[in-house]
């Protein structure tokens, strides 16, 4: 039993980072970023490259990956997505436009990675050692990745709830119109949130690469997982995303251990559909209407 819970919690760490990235992009910048998974895979590749070519350990590599991803996503937002935001007459229009645009971006990024690295599978051994918790063995790389995810998520929490900038981000998430009334630069805050989201996702990727076999075309799987967590946690809700990631990690592990590993993904989607039907504002969201 403890094995299930611990495995689930370890799994949820990286889920949480990816979902936090998407919830910032979707909840604050109002961009449904279907290319989120590609950012994650890019994080995997850069970590792999740093580790194999320069022997830089992936955790230290985050110091390079996070700022790079931040700058890159900032550029994407300003160049490609801001025109769509300006053009859109309503939220529905922006949603359709951003789905289409980021779908194009998904292919573009995937194509570039295929060109650069080829389609093969990649993996490398980093801290693939046995680490004992409550008498059972776990991968040390998973434990370290989880710890790093916790630190990053805590940093994000402090930023959002303890700084002026962070408060502005939360205000835009709650209501962009009212936010602009209190002199918040909504457009700049949205760019900040989008870039921050990208950086978080790339960090998630770098951590994931320490214990996953990856290749250039697997981003979509993670976009789906992230979407599920974001919706379950409530769009734009940072605490909700973390709790939903935790719930999902444990639920998946429990189903795999207790019922049938073949139903893991079915359980994920089933859970997700139930949440959508009965609590569309997210498990922890407040009823708005």
């Amino acid at each position: 039993m403890t094995h299930i819970v611990v495995t689930g919690i370890l799994l949820s760490g990286t889920y949480a980072l990816i979902a936090l990235g998407l919830t910032l992009q979707y909840g604050v910048a109002r961009i449904m970023n279907l290319a989120n998974g590609e950012t994650l895979v890019a994080g995997c590749f850069v970590a792999f490259w740093l580790y194999t070519a320069f022997a830089i350990n992936p955790i230290a590599g985050l110091l390079v990956i996070a700022p790079a991803a931040f700058a890159f996503n900032w550029a994407i937002y300003v160049v490609a997505l801001r025109p769509l935001v300006r053009r859109a007459r309503n939220r529905g229009q922006l949603e359709v436009d951003s789905i289409l645009a980021t779908f194009g971006l998904l292919f573009l990024l995937q194509g570039l990675m295929l060109l650069g690295f080829g389609g093969e599978y990649f993996s490398y051994a980093f801290l693939a050692e046995r680490f004992v918790i409550f008498g059972s063995g776990y991968g040390l790389n998973r434990v370290v990745a989880f710890a790093a995810a916790v630190v990053i998520a805590a940093g994000l929490y402090l930023f959002l709830y303890r700084t002026r900038q962070g408060t502005a981000v939360r205000a835009v998430a709650a209501d962009p119109n009212s936010a602009s009334l209190v002199a918040i630069d909504v457009s700049r805050t949205a760019a900040l949130a989008f870039a921050l989201g990208g950086a978080l996702t790339a960090c998630g990727g770098a951590l994931l690469s320490t214990f996953y076999t990856f290749n250039a075309s697997m981003g979509v799987i993670f976009t789906m997982k992230a979407l599920i967590i974001v919706i379950m946690g409530g769009v734009g809700d940072v605490r909700g995303a973390v709790l939903a990631a935790l719930a999902l990690g444990i639920a998946e592990t429990a189903v795999a251990s207790l019922i049938d590993p073949g139903l893991t993904l079915a359980a994920t989607y089933g859970l997700f559909i139930l949440v959508l039907l009965f609590r569309p504002q997210g498990i922890f969201g407040r009823q708005t209407a």
Binding site: D97, G104, M224
Partner: protein, 321 residues
């Protein structure tokens, strides 16, 4: 029901001529052009069926793959026991039933929640089918061996596309179509004038789902070997949305305008740039979003209105002079 206008008769005749010409294609070419035409007709049927529901309601459904796969599996599971037409009909019923259940369940969802729900649904169905096959049978792949060749599939899909168009036209003329237009404009207004919005939406979703399932059923013999990842391929859902939006969803014939160039362009890209296909496709997408925001039909209408205005202005200027 109002009488058929002269304009509609003209459009109908023109359509009949086009379909008749299209039906002759296999007599001219049995090779590549037939193959790509099969894809065009397939996506024409899928996109138009999708637009039947999503056009007037503005609900973006990503459940196409689920309906398509249900149709494909209806054929694949019982091809050795039952005649093909019965299986196609069964597929249609299964698609409609699934759409009905989804419709009832998703009434309260709107906007992006509906989008994600339908995407999740397609994945859920795929996972359950995979698991059930793994658990209760000994193989996931199912073989569908028939005597159909490309041309038979082409004709069947062409007939389906015509049926979808006719259905769309009839719905537009019916009370249901009228109700849908009001719902699309403003759901609250629609409710106030006494339209059962839920019933209308569900009915339309079922019609759309049934047509998509039929398309899947007809495609089954083409693949020969059916596996959940190919039958419930989420790419189908995405491609249908993209092509329909590219064409424009405000007219019945809008998606068709998107499908034809898109399928041909995709094919050219994959032939010319086999190693850079994703990059070129990504760029093509971005170009569509930035250059054709209201789809091809939207752009055409814009150009048309501008021309007409200019002519009207010119005529007006002459009069005053």
């Amino acid at each position: 029901m109002s009488a058929v206008s002269a304009g509609e008769i003209r459009v109908g005749l023109a359509g009949a001529v086009v379909v008749a010409l299209a039906a002759c294609l296999p007599l001219v070419d049995q090779g590549f052009y037939l193959s790509i035409s099969v894809n065009i007709v397939l996506y024409a049927a899928l996109c138009t069926a999708w637009t039947l529901f999503s056009g007037p309601t503005h609900y973006v459904s990503l459940a196409t793959a689920a309906f398509f796969g249900v149709g494909t599996y209806s054929v694949a599971l019982w091809i050795d026991q039952l005649p093909f037409p019965a299986l196609v009909a069964g597929g249609a019923l299964a698609g409609a039933a699934l759409a009905g259940v989804v419709g009832v369940a998703t009434l309260r969802l709107s906007g992006v929640y509906f989008v994600i729900f339908t995407l999740g649904l397609a994945e859920l169905v795929r996972q359950i089918v995979t698991w059930a096959q793994a658990k209760f049978t000994t193989r996931v792949g199912l073989y569908v061996f028939t005597d159909f060749t490309e041309k038979h599939i082409y004709w069947m899909l062409l007939a389906l596309a015509v049926a979808v168009f006719l259905a769309g036209w009839l719905i537009n003329r019916s009370r249901l179509g009228f109700a849908m237009r009001i719902i699309g404009n403003d759901e609250t207004v629609a409710r106030h004038v006494g339209i059962d919005t839920a019933r209308a939406k569900i009915l339309l979703f079922m019609v759309s789902g049934a047509f998509i399932a039929i398309a899947g059923a007809i495609s089954a013999p083409r693949y020969g070997y059916i596996q959940p990842p190919s039958a419930f391929n989420p790419m189908i859902s995405f491609l249908v949305v993209i092509m329909a939006l590219l064409g424009g969803t405000s007219r019945l014939w809008g998606p068709l305008v998107g499908v034809v160039p898109f399928v041909i362009a995709m094919d050219l890209i994959s032939a010319r740039f086999p190693n850079h296909m994703p990059i070129v496709m990504g760029l093509a997408f971005l170009a569509i979003v930035y250059l054709l925001p209201h789809g091809v039909t939207g752009r055409l209408e814009q150009v048309w209105t501008r021309l007409r205005n200019r002519r009207a202005l010119a005529v007006g200027a002459e009069r005053t002079a």
